[in-house]
């Protein structure tokens, strides 16, 4: 990617970890998802019907359309996390950075969201960079795993090569079961 910070950020989606929102926050879910596209739309350019369609499409895809008119502060942790994922996807970025995107999701929701992210990776050629501590949640199509310890990379390679007990033990300091 070439360009300054602002132009690069327009191509990168971001899903924060455990995004806590005040209950009284005066924004609706539909607005929050649509906001994901504002940086890409650009200054002084209007929001088009296509932008709204894309945002709606992402909400439909993640199964949160019924929440569209709900205040963003009135959601459960899992619902809020899906909204943040939908917001990042609505941007149609080249790369999405996700910090513990499955932490507030139950098992079924994790499986469902993981499959949907896989679809985006395969069909929309989106690259996902995911920070994750739960090994079981690593998506099946993940083709590169980097293990870090105290800020340093201790392993970097294919999933099947990296996810070995001895390396994981090093990363998790002997807590691996």
């Amino acid at each position: 990617m070439n360009g300054d910070g602002s132009s690069i950020r327009k191509l990168v989606g971001y899903v924060p970890q455990d995004y806590s929102i005040d209950e009284l926050t005066p924004f609706l879910v539909s607005d929050v998802v649509l906001m994901g596209r504002f940086g890409k739309i650009g200054l002084l350019k209007p929001i088009t019907k296509n932008d709204k369609e894309i945002a709606k499409c992402m909400m439909d895809y993640l199964g949160i359309s019924d929440l569209s008119q709900r205040p963003i502060g009135k959601l459960s942790g899992g619902q809020a996390q899906k909204v943040m994922i939908a917001r990042a996807l609505a941007k149609e970025p080249e790369i999405i950075l996700m910090d513990e995107p499955f932490s507030n999701l139950d098992f079924e929701a994790r499986k469902d969201v993981s499959e949907k992210l896989t679809h985006f990776h395969k069909n929309k050629k989106m690259t996902f960079v995911i920070v994750i501590h739960d090994i079981a949640s690593i998506p099946k199509v993940c083709n590169r795993v980097i293990v870090m310890d105290a800020g340093k990379i201790v392993a970097d390679g294919k999933k099947e090569d990296i996810l070995k007990p001895e390396l994981l033990e090093m990363g998790y300091k002997g807590i691996v079961c």
Binding site: P26, F27, D31, V32, F38, K40, K91
Partner: protein, 271 residues
């Protein structure tokens, strides 16, 4: 002839009230949402200190009010960073210093201390609105409307979460400083009607009232100025009816509206 003069004064008062109420409350939506209430407080007192200096120097108080409030709005952030202090500590210092400086300059102006000029910048004066005041208020109102209309999506995104807005590719810093600058100019221009001690109430209360009824930021931005205008007009009516300082009357009205809003707010009903 006297009737014409009185009609002109009344007309200016009404126009001034509408414009002040509109602009203060519009900027108030940003101040409240971005948790800049303390900054707005510091700005209004800095504007008062500036106006007091203007009186002391026998210059136009508005120019100095504008300079002081703008300086506070633009210097606060970098000041807090360099001093490695919490923002509310710096605001607290600026607020108390501004009050002290303002009262000092009023005290040092023996001809004008506690005169009508000095009292006007403290409490406001509905009868003091001039053609120039109306023009300034009209200009800042139009600028604020154009700013919100042109950059609504960026502003909305920043009001939701500044960091996420930046992450999505919006350059939030210029907008943040522009909001601070427009707020400081609004405060300075509003001194004439509401006074330095109470302009803050007109900025915060109408928006806080509308907040009690809506979770939609678009509606809050639209209805806050309406409540602000109503507060100002009712305040002026009260000021005339009971011979009260304009600023106090407006502050009482918009506080009463806020209190009523909290009581009837659907957000506070259980279930």
């Amino acid at each position: 002839m006297l009737e014409l003069v009185f009609t002109k004064i009344l007309l200016f008062a009404i126009i001034g009230a509408v414009l002040t109420g509109f602009t203060c409350s519009l900027m108030g939506t940003f101040v409240v949402r971005m948790n800049l209430s303390s900054l707005g407080f510091a700005m209004s007192h800095a504007a008062f200190a500036g106006a007091a200096l203007g009186i002391f120097l026998r210059k136009d108080p508005l120019i100095f009010a504008l300079l002081f409030s703008t300086f506070v709005s633009l210097a606060l952030g970098p000041l807090a960073d360099k001093a490695k202090l919490k923002t509310d500590v710096v605001i607290g210092v600026i607020f108390s210093l501004s009050m002290a400086i303002g009262l000092l300059f009023l005290n040092m102006s023996p001809d004008t201390a506690m005169s009508s000029t000095a009292l006007r910048i403290l409490w406001g004066s509905v009868l003091g609105m001039t053609t120039a005041d109306i023009m300034y208020l009209l200009i800042i109102s139009v600028i604020a409307i154009i700013f919100v209309a042109m950059f609504f999506k960026e502003i909305n995104s920043i009001l939701f979460d500044r960091k996420l807005a930046r992450a999505s590719g919006i350059n939030d810093k210029p907008f943040y400083y522009l909001i601070l600058f427009l707020t400081s100019v609004t405060v300075a221009f509003s001194l004439k009607l509401v006074g330095g001690l109470l302009v803050f109430a007109l900025m915060i209360n109408p928006t806080s009232s509308v907040y009690q009824f809506s979770y939609d930021m678009k509606k809050i931005i639209i209805f806050s100025p309406i409540v602000g205008v109503i507060s100002c007009l009712l305040g002026i009516l009260m000021s005339f009816a009971f011979d009260l300082p304009t600023g106090s009357a407006i502050a009482i009205v918009c506080s009463a509206i806020f209190g009523f809003s909290v009581l009837v707010s659907p957000k506070r009903r259980k279930g």
